[in-house]
Symmetry: C3
Subunit: 397 residues, 3 copies
Amino acid sequence: MAIETVTSTDAFKQLVTDVTSQAGYKEPMAFGIARVDRGQKNAEKILQANFGLINWKENFGSAAVFIKALQEANCDVDFSGTEFVATINDNFVHNAMAAFAPYVAEATGDAHKNVQVIKALSNMADIGKNFRIVFLFEDANPGSVEAVYLKLYALSQSKAELRKINLNGAFGILSNVAWVGNTPYELDYLRENEIEMKLNGTYPAVDAVDKFPRFLQHVIPADNTRILEASKVRMGAQLAAGTTVMPGASYINFNAGTLGPVMVEGRISSSAIVGAGSDVGGGASILGVLSGTDGNPISIGENTLLGANSVTGLPLGDACIVDAGITILAGTKIKIAPEELAKIAEANPEAKLEYKTTFKGAELQGLNGIHFRQDSTTGEIIARRSTREVKLNVELH
Amino acid sequence: MAIETVTSTDAFKQLVTDVTSQAGYKEPMAFGIARVDRGQKNAEKILQANFGLINWKENFGSAAVFIKALQEANCDVDFSGTEFVATINDNFVHNAMAAFAPYVAEATGDAHKNVQVIKALSNMADIGKNFRIVFLFEDANPGSVEAVYLKLYALSQSKAELRKINLNGAFGILSNVAWVGNTPYELDYLRENEIEMKLNGTYPAVDAVDKFPRFLQHVIPADNTRILEASKVRMGAQLAAGTTVMPGASYINFNAGTLGPVMVEGRISSSAIVGAGSDVGGGASILGVLSGTDGNPISIGENTLLGANSVTGLPLGDACIVDAGITILAGTKIKIAPEELAKIAEANPEAKLEYKTTFKGAELQGLNGIHFRQDSTTGEIIARRSTREVKLNVELH
Amino acid sequence: MAIETVTSTDAFKQLVTDVTSQAGYKEPMAFGIARVDRGQKNAEKILQANFGLINWKENFGSAAVFIKALQEANCDVDFSGTEFVATINDNFVHNAMAAFAPYVAEATGDAHKNVQVIKALSNMADIGKNFRIVFLFEDANPGSVEAVYLKLYALSQSKAELRKINLNGAFGILSNVAWVGNTPYELDYLRENEIEMKLNGTYPAVDAVDKFPRFLQHVIPADNTRILEASKVRMGAQLAAGTTVMPGASYINFNAGTLGPVMVEGRISSSAIVGAGSDVGGGASILGVLSGTDGNPISIGENTLLGANSVTGLPLGDACIVDAGITILAGTKIKIAPEELAKIAEANPEAKLEYKTTFKGAELQGLNGIHFRQDSTTGEIIARRSTREVKLNVELH
């Protein structure tokens, strides 16, 4: 009925082994405990999940402890589905504390973070019904708000790769809510109380109405990362250390982001990825899979410049330049002079470039070292070798 | 001196008839009771009006009750002007409660909202001087802050059509204030107290300085409407259900908005209207009457796409496409090949299109099914029949 | 050990004379007293300085009093460096109050603001360690957070000219922090407390992560200036009275801004300056020294229009028009018809314009009355005389 206090790290390991060798036990690929925000009108509706910590392909011992703590608190863990979610109670916390006993003293700072989670819960007088645990057994379509958030955390904390997580159906699972600071409100609750709140002067200051929260509501960026306005980065985006997001026309959607230090003054649409050292100029747009790329997600290489107010609708390699104000789409016809084509071929030894003078954008996708321009005397879109150095992979050549 | 408690719905109707048959009585086209925010320095200055409910060409019985309740509270209602505004007091609330007595019990949810307003007021110990009632007798230039707000609410709650309300002079009536959450502050008050507040650590976090509040400070959108950042939609804008406003370069000004579900990632300037199913791409600009359209307000039809960073300076019909990055103004010269002209004519049977190869933008305004492009081999702006289906009005043809 | 209460304005003047004639005394070019925000983890780290008042080439008598008050409080003021910063204490406040005695009664409103600062401090039970005084003896590289903020205030309160202040190294001095309203938090503090705060529901709503605060956190704009969204103007920007900053794609960086009433719907990058009566259209970009202007800071003259989504990469004179959607860079080849060249020359009597038909953008920089367009039938970028009147300086001609 309860886990007895574990008195040594060896005993802890034994406990884990006992748990994981249960018939039917499945190692979760991800798990975590969240404080959830419930609907003001409909308390059964989960509006948001706040994780102090997520585990992503790691800390399998803690997972075993949590599963055992649930079982001993009379909660059957169902391993047959792709995910399992349950409300935890004080009994669960007790059990987990007993199991973690050998680690409690040293669980501070970066050490034993799952133990810290349980310690924080054990310090509360009564944890009530607002703490939920979620396990993902595989990367299937998420089936709960907690599962969606766990995956958004994995993306935004760089524990999972962009585009590599299954978020199908997430929009259907999340509720559209009014965000007041970090607190989500049901729109219907506001409607029902509008008259009273408006007349009493207690109507809240709503920051946004959306299904997703903002990145900064949940994620602490690296010390050298800057986000000058929280609304510009959606939860589920991924920002590598050193990225700067300016507040003009910029926006980074979920499942999109940067792989290294990038200056972002434009839009990185859902599924688009930008490499280290690149620069998304003021108002520049990288099209997303839902807007003009025919489902072809765009990657931008390293050290590439997208000029102010440019539009890029195809993948680009390293060391490219798209001039300010121009648009390069898969169907754009682009002229290349023979001598420039030779230089481009040299910078892209693996590309098989036809010998001709007009290319479609799609034929140049992913190539390195291209400078896209519009000739202001003829209106022609042209490409030539950029002035930026392309670092060839020496092992390959 | 007071309205006696009305004991039946018939007696209520009689009361209304008595009031509205007074000599000189005029039915208000709109009315409402607002909690007002007054200047911190100058309490005579109304900075904002918060309506729990507005009435727009409706609820004339409640209007009669409110007028009677004012009269019995010794406030003469002046029907001779285009609007009337007064501070209400406890006496007024008492009178209105007495008149509404037959409806008080059932006034919850969506029922009897004016009664709910009076109930909320009657629950306050003392309503003080911050509640004001406003009646508009015609759609004249607004003469008070309360009248301006009543009209902005009418637009933003879709009770009035865009461009159909007289807001002349509104900028002159509203004060430029510092918004801290939902609270407006006089700039002079901040100036006078700057030293103390800065040193005491009580200087407020100012969200904006403007005459207008934001849409979300006053309006609850439909369940499937999303506004990812409150600053992007000004009070007085109108958003049809299903509209999504992204946080990049978007902005929807007052007296502008959408008529159906629209994805908004660009700018809908004052007086511009976008039809159902259309898409205002990232950074796309629809020019407003004050910026380049020569006072010709722009309507965009249904199912039309404005590409990323495009600029549209003329009205467009249904099923059009403006390619990413291009600019179409009234004076833009646009080339149309004869076979494309024939297809455009077919999609626009009522248009009288001259048989020629170069058109000015203005000659194509409001037409359906046009795809505007820039030929990237010649720089020419061209138009052709878009690939989108135009649904012709069968009754007419 | 203490300043005795000064009993007359003559005695005050004598005190100032005594102080300033000390051997080694140096008049500070700027000074002020700030409430500082210290690191939550590392209290030695100053995260922000809040000035109720700054003095910039003014109020040298108050400077002398402050220096004397420090000296009498056993704080040696070091005049040998370019700046001096110290924590003040109650003793300092006492001394300064004693010196300011003749002015205390009349120090309200706009009168004797430094005395108001001391009064506010003297009203506190204990000023603790969070008040710091800073003196700048010359405009050298700032060496402290307080010095950086003093200079940012000077720019944003229009006490110093844009581009004329030495802010070298400011980015190295300021800490990158999470801004929660007006309060900066160390990122490491959030990291250390993330688990507890997330589970307790006390994790703060972070508005931004940046080294700089926002303009409106510190500065009260003129009565006719509007900033519709605080994130759009960085601390250190300068906005002349009557400037309006819309919330779409706009942004004004530090050390950039306007010299008169300007409508800003686009980006004014660091070091760019826009003259009175000009209009930065929706999404228009003025490039900064770090992005494409080769270090040549851009000034835009008066009454010039930058069309929606245009990009301007070179300085422009008065009465110019850059059409919506076009890009003009230093290297852009621009065609000018002979008759238009004559008109441009007439509008710019001092310019030495070569007689030719194709110019580079750089050759036209700073000229008045030019209208930049793209011919939509040929794709050529052309310039002609704009329809706007250029006011020539009569004294010169």
